[in-house]
């Protein structure tokens, strides 16, 4: 408390008006920059969806524009704070280098020889191949069970080929093929494989591989060595043409690596390349080494039956032991059909006699064993395992935005692990055509149409889950449709579980929307009355292509959407854009109270601007430290009907032009936020003046505190001061023995808007003061503020909100300031905390509606 006091009264108590003004202008500039970055990110996110055509020049200019805007924001923050955030410059430079490297020709492909799976996501496509990149993605972003391991990168492969002259051999043979005959292919394939098998792995790569294998935490492991050729699994499946070696012992790892590399030129793979016009000379292979799963059961799940997608079921095949039985079709398997519900049920089964199974052999490799007689004719997976598997598969599908083909296994402990996941191509014949889609849409019962703004395109369905504050977050279920009033950045933690988002407020350039685009969660914002129309538990389909919410789950629409070709998969520019966005838009600093809310934790541009804006707002909040001489010259007294002294300092457009003199009346105020606050403060009944009885203890406590206040500063308690501009208010208010601080930007641009409210102090003992703080906290939460309390200090924050709802909240804060003025004296017990909060909220609801009711043209309720 003492430190806080000193900061309040002492800091910058010597500035002149021009410093103050320029600080404010700097802040406005920072806010503009912040908005510009959010817009650029929103626009780029839109373009990455596949509905746009753009070229390399667009990417270059996007990177240039972002860089300029973000560096401006970083500069402004430091200019405002006398360079107290120099470490943000370093963070910015780091992000900048990462972003630039995506577009730098050639360099982006050079990586370490080894990358652990835990550090891999889709961003690393070009170095670890699509197969491993998507496994890493599942592990890091979805927290799906994936065996641990690492990847020997494409860079390592290239280094090896070059160092051993294999690149020249391959190029020469590729040349022959270009002019040769089909019969030559098998010969070239055999020769190339032979060359690779015979050539010892270049020392640097072999050393890295042995070192990684030799790490203590990997002792006793055996591995599955999996091919992950560049281009494999993406546009081109290369299904089964490259090698996978199972149960590889540590001592055999280098040999296994060589063997998998050789399969880059298997006859099938080579033909496949030639048929599709893929370069042979530039073929590269990354190899994944994953901890061998001693599977009890293995199988494949397709999240839709490709033969008849309209049935809307998933199909599973499963057999005892290791996977090749299934993927290579070497033995009979059990088949199951399971529903695509959030909790999938088994709807069909075919159980076969399974006599043989593959299992890891003692000395490496695999062997065939006989299944126990009793188990041979039984289903090899249980219902509960199938449900769990189905759930996992749907999560993966949702994240990928496309039907999936997934290899899985159940280990000896009964855990399901994912070994591979890729997009499942479904022939368009089974899904509705464009015209049919129009008819389907027309036949669906509409709950909301055209009310909001599309923040992320897509279609998602599920049960409505209304979230009103961060406290509801842990309960958010997998597969729910998130319906909220506000769009707090902290909500982003739920997005990985949500199938769609509908928010009453917010804009498509807000933080939450940016994260939704990154995770590809369909999202509508600014949807009036969403929480009234969409009731908890209702099944709905959010069509964020057409800006409609339908009642019920519209399966045809979901099916159409999951089948649409992921346009970005096939074009370099799309891949580049998505890689860029992964370094630009993720928001790691979502919670300003979290440990990691620091400059050096910023790892994307989004982090940088979020941090900078937050710090700038805090900085501005402590602004009114004006030298005494300046005060006399520029400060004017506001004549109020309530017993409150308030001086105002206009730094731009806050008072009607032409108004002269040392005092002004409320009618002259042009500052939108000050007007709103005054409206609240002077609402009849708000300003109670009758004295409140105090018991002796409180009285003594208050007497001490008065003395403390008096001693703090020679100038004693200065009058209350509001620094205002047209859209801005910074108010420090000492009422009795507690402080209110309001800092607010209220403009037409939602992303520029915020409201900070800070309340601290009181006349009574700390217990009662803390109780009052909790009343205030409870009330603020009711109005979607992010709230933080420490003892008798309450900080409430709102940001990114449209003008009118924010204005109403500011008015409410005015009434709250009046209501709580002497409330601490009344805080005799805990029960009163709840009662008082409730009383205030009920009175508010009587006097004004909490959320504005805006009637839409179609009037749907």
């Amino acid at each position: 408390m003492a430190g806080w006091w000193r900061r309040w009264l002492g800091r910058r108590w010597g500035e002149d008006l021009s410093t103050l003004r320029s600080r404010y202008e700097r802040f406005q500039h920072l806010t503009d920059g912040n908005n510009r970055v959010l817009e650029l990110m929103a626009d780029a996110g839109d373009k990455s969806g596949g509905d746009y055509l753009f070229d390399r020049r667009y990417l270059d200019s996007l990177v240039d524009d972002l860089e300029e805007a973000v560096s401006g924001v970083v500069y402004d923050l430091n200019a405002m704070t006398d360079g107290r955030y120099i470490d943000l410059v370093d963070a910015f430079e780091r992000v900048r280098a990462r972003v630039r490297s995506v577009l730098a020709p050639g360099t982006e492909w050079e990586t370490d020889s080894i990358i652990p799976l835990s550090k891999i996501d889709l961003d690393d496509l070009a170095s670890v191949g699509e197969k491993m990149a998507s496994l890493g993605e599942l592990r890091s972003r979805l927290d799906v069970g994936v065996p641990d391991g690492f990847v020997v990168t494409a860079s390592a492969c290239r280094r090896h080929f070059r160092a051993r002259g294999l690149d020249r051999v391959i190029a020469a043979r590729a040349e022959e093929l270009a002019s040769g005959t089909a019969s030559l292919v098998d010969i070239v394939a055999a020769d190339l494989q032979q060359s690779i098998r015979r050539t010892p792995i270049v020392r640097s790569v072999a050393r890295s591989l042995r070192k990684e294998i030799g790490r203590s935490e990997r002792s006793g492991w055996t591995y599955a060595a999996r091919s992950s050729a560049l281009g494999e699994d993406g546009e081109h499946s290369f299904a089964g043409q490259h090698a996978t070696l199972l149960n590889v012992r540590a001592e055999d790892a280098v040999a296994a690596y060589r063997e998998v590399l050789a399969s880059l030129f298997s006859s099938e793979a080579l033909r496949y390349r030639l048929d599709r016009g893929l370069s042979v000379a530039e073929a590269l292979m990354a190899v994944g080494f994953m901890a061998m799963v001693p599977a009890r059961v293995s199988g494949v799940i397709l999240t839709i039956d490709p033969a008849s997608p309209q049935r809307d079921i998933m199909v599973v095949s499963a057999a005892y032991g290791l996977g090749p039985t299934i993927v290579q079709g070497t033995g009979p398997t059990d088949c199951f059909e399971i529903s695509r519900d959030p909790s999938p049920r088994v709807v069909g089964r075919k159980i076969l006699q399974k006599e043989l199974a593959l299992q890891p052999r003692q000395n490496g490799g695999i062997e065939r064993i006989t299944v126990e007689t009793a188990k041979q004719a039984a289903a090899c997976v249980s219902e509960s395992e199938l449900t769990e598997l189905g759930r996992m598969a749907l999560r993966i599908e949702r994240h990928a935005g496309h039907y999936q083909e997934i290899e899985w296994a159940v280990d000896q402990e009964g855990r399901i692990v994912i070994l591979q996941a890729r997009a499942l191509r479904v022939s368009p014949s089974g899904v509705p055509a464009d015209e049919e889609l129009v008819r389907i849409r027309a036949a669906c019962p509409v709950l909301l149409r055209g009310r909001g703004v599309i923040a992320c395109r897509g279609v998602g369905a599920g049960p409505v889950v209304v979230v009103r504050s961060t406290e509801d977050m842990p309960d958010f279920p997998q597969g729910g449709v998130l319906v909220t009033t506000g769009t707090s950045p902290q909500y982003s933690a739920m997005l990985a579980r949500a199938t769609a988002v509908v928010a009453e407020m917010g804009s498509s350039t807000g933080h939450l929307a940016t994260v939704a685009r990154e995770l590809r969660v369909p999202m509508l914002v600014d949807v009036h009355e969403a929480t009234k129309v969409l009731q908890p538990g209702m099944e709905v389909t959010v069509d964020a292509e057409e800006n409609v919410v339908y009642s019920g789950v519209v399966r045809e629409l979901l099916r159409y959407h999951l089948t649409a070709q992921p346009a970005d998969a096939d074009f370099t520019e799309f891949q580049l854009l998505r890689r860029l966005l992964r370094r630009i838009t993720p928001l790691n600093l979502s919670d300003p109270n979290a440990e990691n809310f620091r400059a050096r934790s910023c790892s994307t541009y989004h982090d940088v601007i979020r941090f900078a804006h937050e710090m700038a707002v805090r900085e501005l909040g402590e602004m009114p430290g004006l030298a005494a001489g300046e005060r006399k010259r520029f400060v004017r007294r506001l004549q109020l009907s309530i017993p409150m002294d308030l001086d105002i300092l206009d730094i731009g457009g806050g008072i009607a032009p032409g108004v002269e003199g040392s005092s002004v009346v409320p009618e002259d105020v042009r500052s939108v936020p000050l007007s709103a606050l005054l409206a609240g403060l002077s609402t009849p009944g708000t300003w109670r003046t009758e004295p409140v009885d105090m018991d002796m203890k409180s009285f003594l406590s208050s007497a001490t505190r008065t003395a403390a206040v008096g001693m703090t500063d020679a100038g004693a308690v200065r009058p209350n001061l509001a620094v205002i501009a047209k859209d801005y208010l910074n108010l420090h208010l000492l009422l009795g023995y507690h402080f209110n601080m309001v800092d607010c930007n209220l403009s037409e641009t939602p992303t520029a808007n915020y409201l900070y409210f800070r309340f601290v102090g009181g006349v009574t003992d700390i217990t009662r003061r803390s109780r009052r703080a909790r009343v205030i906290a409870a009330i603020l939460q009711e109005y979607e503020f992010g709230v933080e309390t420490k003892g008798d200090l309450v900080v409430g924050r709102l940001r990114n909100m449209a003008k009118e709802p924010l204005r109403q909240r500011l008015e409410m804060v005015g009434r709250l300031i009046g209501y709580t003025r002497q409330l601490d004296v009344l805080m005799r017990d805990e029960e009163t905390v709840r009662e008082c909060a409730q009383e205030f909220v009920e009175r508010e609801q009587l006097s004004v509606n909490k959320t504005p009711i805006v009637e839409n043209a179609d009037g749907v309720r």
């Binding site: 509905d51 070229d55 020049r57 667009y58 346009a567 074009f571």
Partner: protein, 133 residues
């Protein structure tokens, strides 16, 4: 209705591929050219309802393609695509008689709509397409 013949000219392969893909989905017959010289040659051999061409290319530019079509009095409609830096040039092209222009990046469905309308225009001015000029 007879099939609508569309020519796409752009020196960037991605643009050609994407447009071909998109326009074929909407039922057009599409041919793409990454070299404008070849596109000009093809224009002499075959009739197209709509030409979608990039403005700035090595060799003959989008304007050259447009003039070629105009000078020979073909009913073919020309849509110009440009980077955002050359909007002025695109306006000039429109003044010369381009059907419309689009600035990159643009939404594919906007182009599809534009091509549909341009095709209607072209068909009013010509018989069944695809035969020799």
């Amino acid at each position: 209705m007879a099939e609508t013949q569309v020519m796409v000219v752009d020196d960037e392969e991605i643009v050609c591929d994407r447009l071909k893909d998109q326009l074929e989905k909407s039922g057009f017959m599409v041919e793409t050219f990454t070299e404008s010289t070849r596109a000009l040659k093809a224009l002499e051999e075959k009739r197209y309802h709509v030409v979608v061409t990039d403005l700035k290319m090595a060799g003959p530019t989008g304007l050259d393609v447009l003039y070629n079509v105009r000078d020979r009095g073909l009913p073919t409609q020309v849509i110009i695509i440009t980077g955002y830096a050359s909007i002025e040039a695109a306006r000039e092209a429109e003044a010369v008689g381009a059907y419309d222009f689009l600035c990159k990046p643009f939404e594919l469905k906007d182009l599809t709509r534009m091509v549909k309308n341009a095709a209607k225009h072209a068909k009013r001015g010509m018989g069944p397409a695809g035969r020799g000029a």
